[in-house]
Point group: C2
Chain length 199, copies 2
DNA sequence: GTCTATAAACCGATAGAC
DNA sequence: GTCTATCGGTTTATAGAC
């Protein structure tokens, strides 16, 4: 088994960034976590910025091949997204902080939005065509709701912390988002949702 | 005219934090912006953390005395909120980052949530009683929608930047939020909204 | 590839003169 | 109140031996 130091560095960095944010982690922290010297670290990544770039490049965006067309499929996508957000919270939790690190990172964030947004939108249209979602009440309603969904996805982690410390109990991402989208569901859609989730 | 150095420091710090975030601004940056020495700065604020605390304490939370009971009143509250987000973007743009600075700040954020949340909730109930909002589709629907509203409020700033750079155009906070709440409106509510805003 | 050593800069915070 | 000077620590990044 070959030790891939570069990979170990990326993994350790991801864990640390998840917890403390980009600015809160030093190169020494990362080197210590991997168990290598600081000099060795900069042999693999000459600049700190390169580490987070490498992290973002290594991460493959896992999107279902086709936009979800049933309630269960969309729900499965929510579950996947929640997992992705948890394991890559460095990216989501410190979204604004990260955007300032470099122009390249800011562009990656925008690109992600550009890719995921239409996927959600197509899913909404598909669910409507399949009779699970009601039509738009006005032109552009789906646009707002997809934005709302994306926003909930990326900021759920810090928000739920706020919620938890204030109200004493946290709300589950999945239940929250289905609750906020419930008005979109037709009778048929509600029946499907009831099979997999009780609000 | 008496120079209030303490006040000048707070203003300069607010401007810098707005732009670069708490971690991205050093005491030297602030001192230079005010035109005083670093030593003088720490005479007024012995720790960096004290500066942001002073900033948060100076800001008075402007809430209407009674929860909005009409569409126009709620809309006015949205406009106020949008202004607050713009002028205190240091707080909103780096909301998640700020929570990690100190326990005291995290508590302030939670307290704000605890105060504003019921205000929104009462407003929703009042608008329902007045015939502008439809009743809940299931118990707890208003809870989710108020959370969605609060989330939009605090994370609108970073999200709209993402949107802007990705889609080339920014969406107005007020139009976004009314679009996402449109399904709540009764016929009467829609007529009221049409008087002040076209979606 | 990995290490030690260190440069060069910056950080927050303090001491003390005026 | 405001300043200069500086401490002690940390940061990113580089140089060079092995």
């Amino acid at each position: 088994m070959k030790k891939d130091t570069r990979q170990e560095i990326l993994e350790a960095a991801r864990t640390l960034f998840n917890q403390y944010g980009y600015n809160g982690v030093s190169l020494r922290d990362i080197a210590d976590a991997v168990g290598i010297s600081k000099g060795n670290l900069t042999y693999h990544f000459s600049k700190k910025e390169d580490i987070i770039e490498g992290l973002l490049n290594a991460e493959k965006m896992t999107l279902p091949p086709a936009a979800p067309g049933t309630i269960a499929e969309l729900d499965a996508m929510f579950i996947d997204m929640q997992k992705a957000v948890e394991s890559h919270s460095y990216f989501f939790l410190h979204h604004a902080q990260l955007a300032q690190v470099s122009e390249s990172i800011r562009q990656k964030q925008s690109r992600r939005y550009k890719i995921i947004w239409p996927h959600f939108y197509k899913s909404f249209a598909s669910l409507r065509d399949n009779g699970f979602f009601r039509p738009e009440l006005f032109p552009g309603e789906y646009d707002r709701l997809v934005d709302m969904l994306y926003m909930t996805m990326i900021y759920w982690a810090p928000f739920s912390r706020l919620q938890q410390s204030a109200a004493g109990r946290g709300m589950d991402f999945r239940r929250h988002i289905w609750g906020a989208l419930y008005h979109l569901l037709t009778e048929q859609g509600r029946a499907e949702l009831a099979k997999i989730l009780t609000l």
